[in-house]
Structures are given as structure tokens and as C-alpha cells.
């Protein structure tokens, strides 16, 4: 499926209620990094690296998956306004997750976020083990702390303080309940959504489309018998091509044939 075909889907996006807080960029919009001369593949890698960092960080901070996904969305949105060349990608990931903890009422101390961030970054860049934990109050801690705070404020300004973002998980649970799907299907679809948050699909399409796609892929993967009709139309997705576009975005992740964190390691170490 060519991305170009998505151009015809712009009309679809007009039907979606796009309020101030939830604006979706059509896939046809060229991101600023690309305009500045970065190849699509490289941008994808950078996005994957940032999202993986957020995911790992969120797990270590014991955040719910919902919050982590909001962090990923903020990260992706930010890079629809700024380029990867000018804005450092890892500190932006750290700040995005920190904003998400505040927005989603799961407050974590900045101290904890920064120290864990440093730890995860060292893991991803293939640091020798044992990995030293950053000392609280050390000079590198203070400067990283300052950077995180300034990055946080900068990101908020760039995004115009519209940070309340819907995630796909609640849609998934509702849809599975309506379809009377099994727990196994739900779990599989949930995992696909986790991966969807590593791609730009979540910035380009509303969460219900992402949830429907995840169910679609999961069902075909498990040979699960979904109703033999256009069931996705019930959930507000009027065109099967939307599912194919999002699906191809997600499935591209698996083409590399290596786990994400190893992939991210390679990006970092290059």
C-alpha cells in the first residue's frame, strides 16, 4: 500500500471533529524534518528511538500504559512542528513523558524522571555494565534537570498548551466488548496499539481508527472470526483503506526483524 493513496483520504479527516486539543495531521502533510532534508526512513528511526525511550522510561517509572501513550503522542506532535536536526530527540522524549505524567494526573518527581531517563539512555546507547546511576545533586544531574525543565516549557509552548490527548485503549476495550471478543484478542490488539504509538499513525488518525486497526490485525493474526461484514463502519471508520494505511505503518516496524530496543540501540550507537 503506497502512502500516496492516503492523499485521497484527506476528505475523511474533514469529517472527524477536530477541536483545538485533537488536531490530526493528514499523512500528506510533510513533516518539518523532511522539509529540512531528512529522509523518511531516518525520521522513522528517530521517532522509533524516541518512542522506545519513552516506553522503557514509563515502565521503569511504573506508569500506566495510557500515560506512556500520551507521552508518545506529545513527542510525535512536537516533531510535526520542529525538526529532529535542531531539537534533541532524547531530552524531548524525557520532557514529553514528564508532561504526560502531569496531564494524566500520575505525578512523578522530576528527580526520578531525570535519573531514570539517564539510566535508560545509557542502556540504549550500549553502556558497559554495570550501569552507574546518576547521583542526585551531581553537576551532570543539575544540568540535565535544567534541560528537562526548559525542554518541557518549550514543548508546551510549541504545542500551544493543547496537551489533553485521547488514547486508543479505552476505545479498544469498548469495541472488544461490543464485538464480544475474547481476552486473547484484546491482549493481542492491545500490543498492536502499543506498537502503533511508535509510529506517526497516532498523530495522523484519531484513536478510534487506531483501535479498529489493531483489532483488525490481531484478528487476522489469530484467525479470529470477526463478523463477516464491514463491522468497522460501526466504529466510525468508513473506509477500509484507512485500516490498511495504519496497518502498513504498524507492520513496517516488524520488517526490520529485530526487537525495537536493539534497533534503537543501533540508531543510538551509529
Amino acid at each position: 500500500m503506497e502512502i500516496n493513496e492516503a492523499l485521497t483520504l484527506d476528505k475523511y479527516l474533514d469529517h472527524v471533529a477536530t477541536d483545538l486539543d485533537n488536531q490530526y495531521f493528514p499523512l500528506s502533510v510533510v513533516s518539518p524534518s523532511e522539509l529540512a532534508g531528512m529522509s523518511k526512513e531516518d525520521e522513522r528511526k528517530c521517532r522509533l528511538y524516541g518512542a522506545t525511550l519513552i516506553q522503557q522510561l514509563g515502565i521503569l517509572l511504573r506508569l500506566p500504559q495510557d500515560t506512556i501513550s500520551v507521552g508518545c503522542s506529545i513527542f510525535h506532535r512536537f516533531y510535526y512542528k520542529k525538526t529532529f536536526m535542531k531539537c534533541d530527540c532524547s531530552i524531548a522524549a524525557c520532557a514529553a513523558l514528564f508532561i504526560a505524567t502531569k496531564v494524566e494526573e500520575q505525578p512523578r518527581k522530576l528527580r526520578d524522571v531525570v535519573i531514570t531517563f539517564d539510566y535508560v539512555k545509557k542502556i540504549l546507547s550500549g553502556h558497559e555494565r554495570p550501569i552507574p546511576v546518576m547521583l542526585y545533586g551531581s553537576s551532570s544531574f543539575t544540568s540535565l534537570n535544567k534541560d528537562a525543565v526548559s525542554a518541557e516549557k518549550y514543548m508546551m509552548k510549541v504545542l500551544g498548551f493543547s496537551l489533553k490527548i485521547d488514547t486508543a485503549y479505552k476505545y479498544l476495550c469498548e469495541y472488544i466488548r461490543i464485538l464480544q471478543g475474547t481476552g486473547r484478542l484484546r491482549q493481542k490488539a492491545w500490543n498492536y496499539i502499543n506498537d502503533a504509538y511508535k509510529t506517526v499513525a497516532v498523530v495522523c488518525f484519531p484513536p478510534n481508527a487506531v483501535a479498529v486497526t489493531a483489532i483488525y490485525i490481531a484478528a487476522s493474526n489469530l484467525n479470529y472470526g470477526l463478523p463477516d461484514c464491514e463491522w468497522y463502519k460501526v466504529f466510525g471508520v468508513h473506509d477500509i483503506r484507512i485500516i490498511k494505511v495504519i496497518g502498513s505503518e504498524i507492520l513496517q516496524l516488524y520488517e526490520a526483524d529485530i526487537p525495537d530496543h536493539i534497533f534503537a540501540k543501533r540508531v543510538a550507537s551509529q
Binding site: 532534508g37 531516518d42 526548559s150 508546551m156 500551544g160 498548551f161
Partner: protein
Amino acid sequence: MEKDMTTTVSKLATEAKPKGIAMNRVPLKSWNCRFDHRYEQIKQVGKGAYGDVYKARLKPEYCTSEEEEKSYFALKKLIATKSDEGFPITSLREIQFLKKLNHENIVNLHDVVVSKQEGDNRDKRADVYLVFEYMDYDINGLISKKVEFTSANIKCLMQQLLTGVKYLHDNDVMHRDIKGANILLDGEGTLKVADFGLAKQYDKFRKMYTNKVVTLWYRAPELLLGSHNYNKSLDIWSVGCFMAELFIGKPLFPGSVEAKQIDLIFKLCGVPTLESWPSLAYLHAFSELDLSPSPDQREKFFKKLPTYSKTLDDQGIDLMLGMLTLNPDHRLTVDECLEHPYFTTEPLPCQKSELPKIEGDAHEHGVRVEWKEKLLAEKQNQQFSSSRNYRDRDNNRDYRRDDRRDDRRDYRDRRDDHRNSRGHHRDNRSHKHHYSGHKRSYHDRERR
């Protein structure tokens, strides 16, 4: 393309050195967020722990329509706390709520602007301003300027206020700071609820909320007695206090400290019993309460008022008694308040345009400044009759400042509870000491 990749990768590689972080070299330019130099400030209209409010106008070169040229805006500057936690979560909540809520009786957020940061001086924090439409009066200002409300006026105000509160409660938002100074009135008589600095999403599964919210005079008894799992009914108590204030012309319960406040409330409403308020037994301060019976004197009090039979009728008293019920479970809900016969009996609520108007504008801040000037003049005249009322007001402000630490306190409470439950009885102060000792030893080790 390969070149670009190498540049990005080299950027990634420089992360190890903290100085090389690219984020700071970016000139501060934004896409959605506009700068405050679009507005020219006219005068200060509000001041408090939450920040300053200015009356402002859009500069003519930025106006797009004639309407914008004529209209005034209120700029609310958010406090730039020097906390280590970055952008304050309460401010973030306020912005998110105001963006989400859209109702005639809720103040309307036009824009969020930031002040321009000069150079790449990152130590200097940029100020964030919220831009609202300008409202001419707040109710406290009107009351202190001795504006007289008729019975129909008060019904109109209360109906608008309750409609606004109903919208909030339908959206599961607790305002947590309803008082006269936060209730604004524009020239056309539309009432708007403002200041969402303490607002919070109500979540019925959440068990812990901080009880250091709401300005002391309007704080509900369950908060004063240390409840942590209150619900939306705390706003109704504040509305009740506010309504009584409209009839009396001064605050109903002007307590100076928390103990005095609960004393005043019990004096008027009578001491609650376990029959009338069963969940009282689970509250923190229950063991310290003196539960010697005392009669409920609210009805007597309201009937003695000079405004009784002029503006206040029996239906009005009945509504107030319903809102000022000690037990939060028995307090009226917003819907019940709006359906109360008070609003359907004669005299009916008046039209918005019939509300009283005064020359110029009236805000609590302006009144306070006038007081201050008066006080200074009094001092110069060697008359030491200080204005008790004024001092009380300032005392009250300090509580507000405490409220700002909302979340941290919340967190600390929970943490301490947790610790105590595990049997780690440790004095808070000594704990701190212990910790700093640790830090020092770390440093020493580093130096060695």
C-alpha cells in the same frame, strides 16, 4: 541524505556531553502560542497568591476586526514558582479545564500567551498569561460598593451561578474555590464563574483529596474536620455561603483560623450528632470534637435579618437551609437547587439587563487598594481604629497560598500514612535531617 543522517547521529552522540544539548540553541519561536507584546496593559485589577490580573487591550496593529479593537481583555499572569517540578501542575490543570469547558456562565479562555524570552538566557523563566474577556465587576466589589440587590436581582444571579455550577458538576469538575471575588459580572449582566486554579476532576474511585482547598470563609465543614474523600457537594456549601452574603452584605462565617471557622459554623448550624451525620465518626477531627448539643439557629438568624421580608422570603431561607446542611450527603445537589420553588415563585428572576449597574468597574482588588489608602490616611491622622475587616481579608489570603501546594501535600500525606501504617514511626523533621546527612556523605565520597 547520508549527510543528514550523519548529522542527526552526531547530534545523538553528543548527548553524552550535557553542554552539547541542542535544545537550548533553538531560537524561541512558537507556532500556536502567541506572545504577550500583542497586548498593552492598562491597569492592575487583581492580585493574589495565584498571580496578578491586568486589564489590557489588543494593540491596534494586531487587531483583525473592529470588535477586537473595542473590547478589553483580562490578562492573568501565572505564578512562576521556583519549584523543581517544572511547570506547576495546578496551572496546567487550569488551562486544560478552561480549554475543555465552554458555557455561557463559565469564563471564556481566549488565548494563552507567553512573554518573549530574550536571547537564550534559560535561567530567566518566561511568564505565561491566560487571556480572558474583560468583566466589569466581581460580586465582592459590588457588595463592598454598597450596591443594593432586589429580590429579583438575587434570584437572577443565583440562577445563573447555579447553572454554571451545574455545568461544571455535570462534567465531573469540582471548582473548589467559589466565592464572591471569583464570580464575575459583565456590563450586560451575564454572570461567569472564574478562577479554576484549584479545580479538579472528580473521580469516584479516588480516595484521597487534599482538604486544604477553598478560601476559609467558604470552606465546607467536612473539609474543616479533615475529610479526604469529599465530593462535589463542597461547592454547594460555598454557593450557600455566597447566597447568604448577598442578603447580609458581609461574609456569613468570617473565621480567622480553622478552629474559629468551625466554631462559627457550629454556633449557627448547631452541633451535628451521629444520627444526623453518621459518617462524622470517620473524620479525622472527630475525637477532638465537643459534641455537647446546641440548637440549630439558622432559621432564627435569617428571620432576624433586616433584609427579611424585604428581599428574603421563606422560600429563599428554605433553599439556603438546604445548601448549608452540615451533612454532605443530605445537602441539596445542583439539580435540586435549580428545581427549588424559590426560582418559580413571585417575584420571578429578573432579566439580565435589569441587574444593577454602577459607574466604572468594581473589583475586590480595587476596593482593597482603596481600603489601604484609607488606612494609611487614618494612620496619618493618628486614629488607630484599624479596619478589622481588612486585616481578616489579608489573613485569608495566606490560606490561599497554602492551597497552592495542593499536590505536594497530597503526596506527602499519602506517603506518611503509608509509612505510619508499616510501623516506621519517624519524626518528619528528624527524617529530613537523616536524609541531608546522606547527601553530604555522598558528596564527600565524590570529592575523595
